[in-house]
Symmetry: C2
Subunit: 323 residues, 2 copies
């Protein structure tokens, strides 16, 4: 189970290895949001996303002899790089199972951290079967993208930093808007804020049509999305909230927010222009809600987490030129 002690322990293990990312702001964005808007720029994290935290937390928590046998992860994107970086730092071999049609830049990025990339055919092969066979053969330890206590704890260190970085601001009840795929980051932050800054409440943001978390929060049970592709927010398209993450969000999160693809692209462009950060569309979903859902937000201040910046050049160029 993930609790505040586990999150604090994750932070201790990450000292000097995970970047304390800055909180940015701009009067131009405040004007659009209709209130003070603070942006936790987690896209600046090592590997370009918050996933470096969960990967570090999970791998640093393993016994040395278990870790030395090797790490396994399934991912086509940010989690792959977070796990690969941590494994490399501990001298552990990492095997990342990626779809053969994953963007070459992401495969190259994962390899640049020394990982062995095993590709599979999405149509004809099962990554779970490949992973199970490799695990049995080599004794690898699986690091899941969100439904694992030490992964959630690692992502929760973002919440500890938000609590510290906003301490002097005398905030009242304030929403912290976090994009949600499986909910690892949102649930980790929610636990950290419950303990350290209970006046800050997590709310999730998802693309329209992929709002499994928002609908699950309403119904009280884990709802699924009908589709798994078809949004520019590719990094946060997951089938349903996690088994471990949903109970945390159900207890602590406010009502879920949704944004359109166009709003995500506009948020990417505005973050470029006014904050000088590179955010991928999925990573900008929280910022988009903070900017464009002000009627559904209360309080003088809103906090958004910009979660990742691993975006294709063409997509980013499209965002800044056209939105």
């Amino acid at each position: 189970m993930t609790d505040i002690d586990r999150i604090r322990a994750a932070r201790t293990r990450a000292a000097g290895k995970i970047l304390k990312t800055p909180v940015l702001s701009s009067p131009a964005l405040d004007a659009i949001a209709g209130r003070r808007l603070l942006v936790k720029a987690e896209c600046l994290q090592y590997t370009g996303s918050f996933k470096a935290r969960g990967g570090w937390s999970a791998i640093s928590a393993l016994d040395q002899e278990v870790r030395a046998r090797g790490i396994l992860a399934y991912s086509s994107g940010n989690h792959a790089q977070g796990v690969a970086r941590a494994a490399q730092a501990f001298g552990a071999p990492a095997v990342i199972i990626m779809p053969a049609d994953a963007p070459q830049s992401k495969i190259d990025g994962t390899k640049s951290y020394g990982a062995e990339v095993v590709t599979y055919d999405r149509e004809t092969e099962s990554r779970e079967d490949i992973g199970a066979a490799l695990s049995a053969e080599r004794g690898l330890t699986l690091v899941r993208p969100y439904d694992q206590p030490d992964v959630i704890a690692g992502q929760g260190t973002v919440g500890l930093e938000i609590a510290e970085q906003t301490k002097g601001l005398e905030l009242g009840q304030t929403d912290v808007i976090v994009c949600a795929g499986g909910g690892g980051l949102a649930s980790g932050i929610a636990l950290a804020l419950e303990a350290e800054a209970p006046h800050l409440r997590v709310r999730t943001s998802e693309p329209v049509g992929f709002d499994d978390v928002a609908r699950s929060l309403v119904s009280g049970q884990r709802e699924s999305n009908e589709r798994l592709s078809g949004s520019v927010c590719d990094a946060i398209l997951t089938p349903c909230p996690g088994e471990l993450t949903f109970p945390i969000l159900s207890r602590l999160a406010g009502p879920g927010l949704t944004i359109t693809d166009e709003e995500a692209m506009r948020a990417v462009a505005l973050a470029f222009r006014h904050l000088k950060i590179v955010v991928e569309p999925g990573g900008a979903a929280g910022l988009a809600a903070a900017l464009f859902r002000s009627d559904q937000i209360e309080g003088d201040t809103v906090i958004a987490v910009a979660t990742g910046g691993n975006v294709d050049t063409a997509r980013f160029s499209e965002a800044i030129l056209n939105y």
Copy 2:
């Protein structure tokens, strides 16, 4: 005169008003640089450049009644926004004299902080003459872009942060590469490092053809550039090193470095891809030298300051798509 006490006082006055910017890194950039490369991401500073520091320092140091009469500045853009933001925060009117060919984003940014913008022709008019006339007429106080002790002191706070942020790294003799226009930032950092981290040595980077600082360091006197325009590095095209800044650089800086426009554009693209920050070409000159002049740099680590991110969308898009 600027000394370490003045820099420390500038930091005290800036508490809570100036962002402590992060130091970023990426294995991909280390590989290109041939050594560990640390990037001080000052483009994330309020107003999108380090100039917010000098502006805040100079304006916060004024007597209240002097400040209330108003502030004057001449600037190609970044200093304009830094001064405008500080003036606005203190409730003082600001008049900013900008070249007519300054990027529209910088003119708009300056106006967004409530300043009055007056434009001039870079080739045929003297901004100093225009400034002097306006000062006399309205009783405004001029805040110079670099040749003013409290401005240099404000920029020097970057050096205090670099000293703090690299304290645990056990660096040997290490170069800190800073792009140079008039040399305010480079000289301020040099003074801060002399006091706080004398193993760190400032070196300037300038575009080929605009290497007045590098040539001045060789000749021992202030040399001028033949041209004042014609590089993508618009933010750092100044006629010659400052009267106050050059003696500091002459005493403390290592040999000057030069980079091409193409290398500046490549550095912009690499910072986008691997650090997730938006840097303007001039602001990337130090990073370009760290990446592409490794034969002229010694030591296991190099530090580059990415000084600003106020770049037009078309230029940035060109950099990331073509370089």
